[in-house]
C-alpha cells in the first residue's frame, strides 16, 4: 500500500524522534544525571514505527525493558517521557517508574516492563477486551529474542490460539539477549516465527531494519487479525546499536560489527535512501524533519532538567485507589 507524503514524513519523523531521544540519552547518561538502568532502542526504530503507525487508540501494545521506542511510536508524550527518565515530578509516572515502567493506558500503551516475558500474557488479556469491545482493535506484545524463551511467552501464544483473540506477538530479534547470542540461546528448527506457527497461528518473518518491509508485512498481519479475530506472530530481524544497557563493554560483538550495522543496517539511512531514490520525498524534507526533531529533543531535555524533583512524601501515594 502506497503511503502519502505526509504519512512518509510522519513515519520518518517518529523514527528520528526515537533515534535522537536515545542518542541524546546515551550522552546524558555519561553526565551521571540519570539514575538507574536504561536500555536504548536505537537501531530498532523501523519496527516500533512500522507497526504503531498503523494502530489506533483502540489498539493496545505492551512493551519490554527496552521500551522508549514503543512508547514514542504509540504516542506517549516525549517531554513526559524524558522527565520520567530524569526522575522528575513532571514525568509520565511522576518519577515513580523510570525508564523501565513508562506507560500511558489511554494511548493504548500498557507499559514498558522490567520482567522479561511478562508482557505477552497481559497482551492476551488486552485482546480479550478488544474482542469484547468489538471495535476491531488488536493487542500487540513486543518481545525480544531473549523473551521468546520465557515460559510466559509460550503460555500466552497457546492461550491466544485457544481463546481465539486478536493478539499479535511481535518478536524483535536483535540477535542478543544481554551478552548472549540468539544462535546459542534460542533453539529452533527454523526460526522464532516457526515456534509460533507450531501453535497453529499464522506467522510472518521479515527485515526489521527496513521500514517499508515492516510496514507492508504488518499491513497484511493487521488486516488478517482484524478480519479473523485470531492471533498471529511476526519475527523481525533488527539491530541493537548500543550495549544491552548503558555501560556494557560489548566484548561479544564481532570486529567491525558495530560500524557495519550502523552503516548497512541503519533503518533511518535506508528509509532516506529509498524515499529520495523513489522521489517520494526530497532530501530537504528530511533535513527539515531532522532539524525539528533535534530541537524537540533539546526542548524535552530542557523541560526535564527544569522540572521539579518529586516530593519525598509522594513515595507513599498511588499504591491503591483506596485503602
Amino acid at each position: 500500500m502506497q503511503l502519502s507524503r505526509d504519512a512518509l514524513k510522519q513515519a520518518y519523523r517518529q523514527m528520528k524522534v526515537i533515534r535522537e531521544f536515545e542518542e541524546r540519552l546515551h550522552l546524558e547518561i555519561q553526565t551521571g544525571e540519570i539514575a538507574g538502568f536504561t536500555h536504548l532502542y536505537s537501531g530498532q526504530e523501523a519496527v516500533a514505527v512500522g507497526i504503531c503507525e498503523q494502530l489506533t487508540d483502540d489498539d493496545r501494545i505492551i512493551s519490554t525493558h527496552r521500551g522508549h521506542g514503543h512508547c514514542i511510536a504509540k504516542g506517549c508524550d516525549v517531554k513526559g517521557m524524558m522527565a520520567e527518565i530524569y526522575g522528575r515530578a513532571t514525568g509520565l509516572c511522576k518519577g515513580k517508574g523510570g525508564s523501565m515502567h513508562i506507560a500511558d493506558i489511554e494511548k493504548g500503551m500498557l507499559g514498558a516492563n522490567g520482567i522479561v516475558g511478562a508482557g505477552a500474557p497481559i497482551a492476551v488479556g488486552a485482546a480479550i477486551s478488544a474482542k469484547r469491545q468489538g471495535r476491531k482493535g488488536v493487542s500487540i506484545a513486543f518481545s525480544g529474542d531473549g523473551a521468546c524463551n520465557q515460559g510466559t511467552t509460550f503460555e500466552a501464544m497457546n492461550m491466544a490460539v485457544v481463546l481465539k483473540v486478536p493478539c499479535i506477538f511481535v518478536f524483535e530479534n536483535n540477535h542478543y539477549s544481554e551478552h548472549t547470542g540468539d544462535a546459542y540461546a534460542v533453539a529452533t528448527a527454523s526460526s522464532i516465527a516457526g515456534r509460533a506457527e507450531a501453535f497453529g497461528m499464522r506467522a510472518w518473518h521479515g527485515n526489521g531494519c527496513d521500514f517499508f518491509e515492516v510496514h507492508s508485512i504488518m499491513a497484511e498481519v493487521l488486516a488478517y487479525v482484524r478480519e479473523t479475530g485470531l492471533p498471529a506472530a511476526v519475527e523481525l530481524d533488527t539491530e541493537r546499536f548500543f550495549g544491552h544497557f548503558e555501560g556494557d563493554a560489548q566484548k561479544y560483538r564481532g570486529p567491525g560489527e558495530l560500524d557495519r550495522i550502523r552503516s548497512e543496517r541503519n533503518c533511518l539511512a535506508i528509509f532516506r535512501e529509498k524515499v529520495t531514490a523513489a522521489k517520494l520525498l526530497e532530501g530537504e524534507d528530511i533535513d527539515a524533519i531532522d532539524a525539528e526533531v533535534l530541537a524537540e529533543i533539546e526542548e524535552a531535555v530542557g523541560h526535564a532538567r527544569q522540572s521539579p524533583r518529586p516530593d519525598p512524601a509522594d513515595a507513599l501515594t498511588d499504591v491503591y485507589i483506596s485503602y
Binding site: K96, A103, G125, E155, D318
Partner: protein, 338 residues
C-alpha cells in the same frame, strides 16, 4: 434467610454480580469444564463447584476456560482488567501462586504505582487454600502472609458463608486488585446467606466472641478453631475476645489494638508458616503500638516450620488445634495446666 454452604454462597455472589455487571468476566481452569470434549461444556464449575452454571448462563465470552497456564491466566486477567473489564480469575489451589507469582507480585500489584497512579486494575484473584484434607505439601498451603506483604494487593479471607458472599461482592466492585482466599475445608460450612445484594467493607475485623480476659486473633479456618477454644474457656469462666480479621490487607489495626488495650493479653492463631508470617506481623504491631497495655508475653499459635504433611496423624499434628489455642490462652493468663 436461606442456609447454604460457603461454596454455594460464593457461587451465588458470582451469579448475582455477573447479572448486575456486564463488564465482569470470569476465567480459570475448568471454570466451565468439558470444553473440547464429546460430553461438551458441562458448566460443572470446576473441581470446587464454585463457578457452576455461569457458563450456561453467560457463555464462553464471559466465562472463559483456560489451559493449564497460570501465568497466562493471571496475565490475561490483568490485561483485561487494565483495559476495561472487571475480572475474577481463579487459581484452583493457592499453592499455584508459585507458577504465576511474577504476574501477581511484580505486575498486578505494582501497575498503579509504577505508572504514577494513572491506571486501575479491578481484578479479583480467587484462590483455594489451606490444610485439613490431606492434600499434602503442594496442595494445602496458606500463603496469605506472602500476599499480605505485597504492596498494591488487598487480601481477603472469609470465614463464613455470609462473609464470603458480602466480601466477594465488595472485592469484585473494588477498583484495586484483591486476593480472595477461600479455605477448602470451609467450602462445606453452612450458614445463613441473604438472597439480596449486600457487601461487607474490606478492612474491618469482626468480633465473633466477646470477653475481657484475652484477645484471640484469627482468620479463615482458624476462626472456628479459636471460637471453639473460647467456648471451652468460657465454660471455665475465662472470657475471650475472638477477632476474625476478615482481611489481612488492609488490616484492622484499630480493632486489634482496642481489644488488647482492654485485655492486655494477645494470642495470635494462624494457619500459615511460622516464620515471617501473619502471627509475627500482628505481634509486631501490638508490641510496638500497644506495648504498655500488655500484661503477658504474646502467644503465637501456628504450624511448625515444616511443609504440610500428608498422613492424617501428621497433618493433625501440623495444624494448630483448639486445645493448643486454649492452652495458649491459659498460659497468657498464667494459669495452671497450660
Amino acid at each position: 434467610m436461606a442456609v447454604m454452604m460457603m461454596r454455594e454462597a460464593i457461587n451465588l455472589a458470582l451469579h448475582q454480580e455477573m447479572e448486575r455487571d456486564p463488564d465482569l468476566i470470569v476465567l480459570g481452569e475448568d471454570v466451565v469444564g468439558g470444553m473440547g470434549t464429546a460430553g461438551g461444556p458441562e458448566s460443572v464449575g470446576g473441581v470446587w463447584r464454585t463457578t457452576t452454571g455461569l457458563y450456561a448462563k453467560y457463555g464462553a465470552e464471559r466465562v472463559i476456560d483456560t489451559p493449564i497456564s497460570e501465568s497466562a491466566i493471571i496475565g490475561a486477567a490483568a490485561g483485561a482488567a487494565l483495559t476495561g473489564q472487571r475480572v475474577v480469575a481463579e487459581l484452583m489451589f493457592a499453592d499455584f501462586i508459585g507458577v504465576c507469582m511474577d504476574q501477581i507480585w511484580n505486575q498486578v500489584a505494582k501497575f498503579r504505582y509504577m505508572f504514577g497512579g494513572r491506571t486501575r486494575c479491578p481484578l479479583v484473584i480467587r484462590m483455594i487454600y489451606g490444610a485439613g484434607v490431606n492434600a499434602a505439601a503442594q496442595h494445602s498451603q496458606s500463603p496469605h502472609a506472602m500476599l499480605t506483604s505485597m504492596p498494591g494487593l488487598k487480601v481477603v479471607m472469609p470465614s463464613t458463608p455470609y462473609d464470603a458472599k458480602g466480601l466477594l461482592l465488595a472485592a469484585i466492585r473494588d477498583d484495586d486488585p484483591v486476593i480472595f482466599m477461600e479455605h477448602k475445608a470451609l467450602f462445606g460450612l453452612r450458614g445463613e446467606v441473604p438472597e439480596e445484594d449486600y457487601t461487607i467493607p474490606i478492612g474491618h475485623a469482626q468480633l465473633v466472641r466477646e470477653g475481657g480476659d484475652a484477645t484471640i486473633v484469627a482468620t479463615g479456618q482458624m476462626v472456628g478453631f479459636a471460637a471453639r477454644a473460647a467456648d471451652a474457656l468460657a465454660a471455665q469462666g475465662i472470657a475471650c475476645d475472638v477477632l476474625d480479621l476478615r482481611s489481612t490487607s488492609p488490616l484492622d489495626e484499630e480493632a486489634i489494638l482496642d481489644s488488647v488495650e482492654q485485655t492486655g493479653r494477645l494470642i495470635v492463631v494462624d494457619e500459615g508458616p511460622p516464620r515471617c508470617g501473619l502471627a509475627g506481623d500482628i505481634a509486631g504491631l501490638v508490641s510496638s503500638k500497644a506495648f504498655m497495655a500488655l500484661k503477658a508475653p504474646i502467644e503465637m499459635v501456628t504450624p511448625p516450620h515444616t511443609p504440610v504433611p500428608f498422613a492424617r496423624e501428621l497433618e493433625r499434628a501440623y495444624l494448630p488445634q483448639p486445645e493448643q489455642i486454649e492452652a495458649a490462652v491459659r498460659r497468657a493468663l498464667g494459669l495452671q495446666g497450660a
